[in-house]
């Protein structure tokens, strides 16, 4: 079993003061990899090294980075590199820290990848909300240009590559690679139909390489120490380390760099401190809010791409969100669904309508108007979204919601029954209204509920909470 690395590869020297300054970065060995690549290696050799390292994309899909770069057409055409720093996946905050603390590591990685694929124009698309990080990056790019690591004739090698930091303006979907390209071209960030894939026809119709911040940040270390060294971390199929963002109901939320393949329990409990005392884990998202939820029984699975997929979920961007047993699953579903409903770009129907109707259905449960059939309806909406959209945004909502229903169906049904009963008490109930409010009808009320298939429970433990939750909460009504 591999051991977790606090210092790791990417987080090494992270606590050194002024790490973001170029002189400190150089003192710690920075830009040596770029020098090695440009002066001692050909572009093909760098590409081979990246491919041999087995580095997989850290943005979510987990595709081999070296392979992706090798798909780009060779020769003298305008090719582009886009670093995807539009980190908006709920639960993910690794890129923010990587940029904030070590911008030069990323810049060096971008330049190495650009050299390997013969690219002369590189962009870092950073989300608009990361104002401080964008400023950090812009300063760093300025410093690197001054020192001749970016721009024309880098380190007198004859290789030139420009680098522009491009800020987004607040749209989750722009993290999707084709939407990112549209946004960078100055359009609305709508995903494109694929094929053609960006490697053939991407930014400004040219072949384009798109990589995540963490992926590119690994490149300098691979070039400097070699693919073999990189493969000594992690597992056979997922080499290297992974920055895991742990958040939610844990005592020590934060970014932790681990080798892939360590038990999930180790990350959640030993590193992040587990849920607060007295609480237990109800469910957890292994790869951001768009990954299907897992439960306590999955905690001993090794945390890597393969095992998460086997368990019916995915590693995604490597962002663990822990939900403890005090949180109603309905709230979790609502938070997830509302987010994707808001962020759906509206280009394709299953996503635009599906996210909307999912929110409507969940609200219906919340208001006490739902029947148990609505759980099946909820599932059927999700089934109609999965696999039917242009991009993964629709699936990103449908997959976790279906997983929640799958794992917590009794709780959904109980919520429906309890809330329905509470609503009937408040509004007089259907039974009372029909029979003119006589004493007989009062007793008929619950029977009617029972006939509709719900289970009336007197003095239910959730009762107090239901009433408390009927008070309007801020943010709950933003889609009304």
């Amino acid at each position: 079993m591999s051991t977790p690395t606090r210092e790791g590869i990417l987080f090494k020297h992270f606590d050194t003061p002024n790490r973001q300054r170029i002189d400190v970065y150089e003192q710690l060995g920075g830009y040596r990899a770029l020098g090695k690549a440009l002066t001692e290696m050909t572009a093909d050799q760098v590409l081979k090294e990246l491919e041999a390292s087995g580095l997989r994309g850290r943005g979510g899909a987990g595709f081999s980075m070296g392979k992706k770069a090798s798909f780009l057409r060779h020769g003298e055409i305008d090719k582009y590199l886009c670093c995807n720093a539009d980190e908006s996946e709920p639960g993910a905050f690794k890129d923010r820290e990587l940029i904030h603390r070590n911008p030069h590591q990323l810049i060096e990685g971008v330049m190495i990848a650009a050299y390997a694929a013969g690219i002369r124009h590189a962009f870092i698309y950073i989300r608009g909300e990361y104002v401080e990080q964008a400023e950090t990056l812009e300063t760093a790019v300025g410093e690197a240009s001054e020192k001749g690591y970016v721009g024309d004739d880098i380190l007198s090698s004859g290789f030139s590559c420009s680098l522009v930091v491009h800020r987004g303006a607040g749209a989750y979907i722009c993290g999707e690679e084709t939407a990112l390209l549209d946004s960078l071209e100055g359009k609305r960030g709508n995903p494109r139909l694929r094929p053609p894939f960006p490697a053939n026809q991407g930014l400004y119709q040219g072949p384009t390489l798109i990589n995540n911040v963490e992926t590119l940040s690994n490149a300098p270390h691979i070039v400097l120490h070699g693919a073999e060294w990189f493969r000594s971390f992690g597992t056979e199929k997922s080499p290297g380390t992974k920055v895991v963002s742990v958040s939610g109901n844990v005592q020590r939320p934060g970014n932790y760099e681990v080798e892939l393949g360590v038990p999930s329990r180790h990350i959640i409990f030993d590193l992040a401190g587990g849920p607060p005392p007295g609480r237990r884990i109800k469910c957890w998202f292994p790869g951001g809010s768009s990954s299907p939820v897992l439960t306590g029984e999955h905690l001993d699975l090794p945390y890597d791409f393969e095992h998460m997929a086997e368990a019916g979920s995915m590693l995604g961007s490597g962002s663990i969100i822990v939900v403890d047993d005090t949180v109603p699953i309905l709230s979790v579903a609502m938070w997830v669904a509302k987010f994707y409903h808001h962020e759906s770009c509206g280009k394709c129907v299953p996503c635009r309508e599906g996210t909307n109707w999912t929110v409507q259905l969940l609200k219906r449960i919340d208001r006490g108007e739902a029947t148990p059939m609505d759980v099946d309806l909820l599932m059927s909406v999700q089934d109609n979204i999965i696999g039917n959209c242009l991009c993964l945004l629709g699936d990103s909502m449908a997959m976790p919601i279906s997983a929640m229903v799958k794992h917590f169906r009794p709780e959904f049904e109980e919520e429906i029954a309890v809330r329905r009963q509470a609503a009937e008490r408040v509004f007089g109930g259907t039974g009372a209204a029909q029979a003119g409010g006589t004493g007989v009808a009062q007793e008929e009320g619950p029977d009617l509920v029972a006939a509709a298939g719900t289970v009336p429970v007197e003095g239910h433990p959730h009762e107090a909470r239901v009433e408390e939750e009927q008070a309007p909460r801020p943010g709950e009504d933003e889609f009304d």
Binding site: P90, G186, G254, S289, D324, W335
Partner: protein, 231 residues
């Protein structure tokens, strides 16, 4: 007026009311590229936009940075701002608006000066973001997703801001602060009223250097007994 057909259409806004348009003093057809000579553009803004346009192989890429620059200057993307951008970039104001309306951070209505975005996504919600949003709303006097009457604040519940490690958190003019308690909400509102730059707001809890110190910040917040952090 050429835009009369937009009145009463959901989403066509009060900003289309006459006084705003006349303030823009243009022939106001957003479907045509305005004549550069007819529009007065602040020289600094023009210079910035032209610099952005020169940074990209295709000048259209400069739309987002240009809109941001105009919003910084005018406080919001007024029709006047749109026509200025359109004149410099040689695109139609309608095109610019189609872009601006897509992205969350562009304001197409007059808004309060300081942008306060509260993250209400899943991780922050698990740590009490809704209580924080309510506290900020109370302290700033701004309704959620609206602006305060004194024109000083605008409060938004925002998509995940990518800072779940400091949940519950808020971004004040782009500067992240967290974990925040209801007490911190009052402190922040007071400091902004006093005119303290949003970069220097206290409590400075995020990015406190090494991990140990950041953890202790969170523990401190929990010990303050605000409930939401203690979960």
């Amino acid at each position: 007026m050429k835009l009369d057909h937009l009145r009463g259409v959901p989403g066509s806004r009060t900003r289309l009311e006459a006084q705003v348009w006349e303030g823009a003093r243009v022939g106001a057809d957003p479907a045509h590229v305005p004549e550069r000579a007819e529009i007065e553009v602040p020289p600094a803004l023009e210079e910035t936009i032209e610099r952005y346009m020169s940074m990209y192989p295709d000048f259209h890429s400069a739309v987002l940075p240009a809109l941001r620059a105009a919003q910084e200057l005018h406080g919001w993307l007024s029709p006047e701002a749109m026509f200025q951008l359109a004149a410099v970039m040689r695109v139609t104001p309608a095109y610019l608006e189609s872009i601006a309306s897509y992205y969350d951070m562009f304001e197409l209505e007059p808004v309060g000066k300081h942008a306060i975005y509260v993250c209400t996504n899943i991780s922050c919600s698990l740590c009490g973001a809704h209580d924080l949003a309510a506290a900020l709303s109370k302290e700033t006097g701004s309704p959620l997703n609206g602006s305060s009457p004194d024109g000083l604040f605008r409060l938004r519940s925002f998509e995940c801001l990518g800072a779940c490690d400091i949940a519950p958190m808020a971004s004040i003019d782009g500067h992240y602060r967290g974990p925040l308690s209801a007490q911190d909400a009052a402190t922040i509102a007071d400091q902004l009223r006093e005119g303290r730059p949003s970069r220097e707001l206290l409590p400075e809890k995020s990015y406190e250097g090494d991990y140990a110190r950041r953890l202790s910040a969170r523990e401190r917040a929990a010990k303050a007994g605000d409930g939401e952090d203690a979960r």
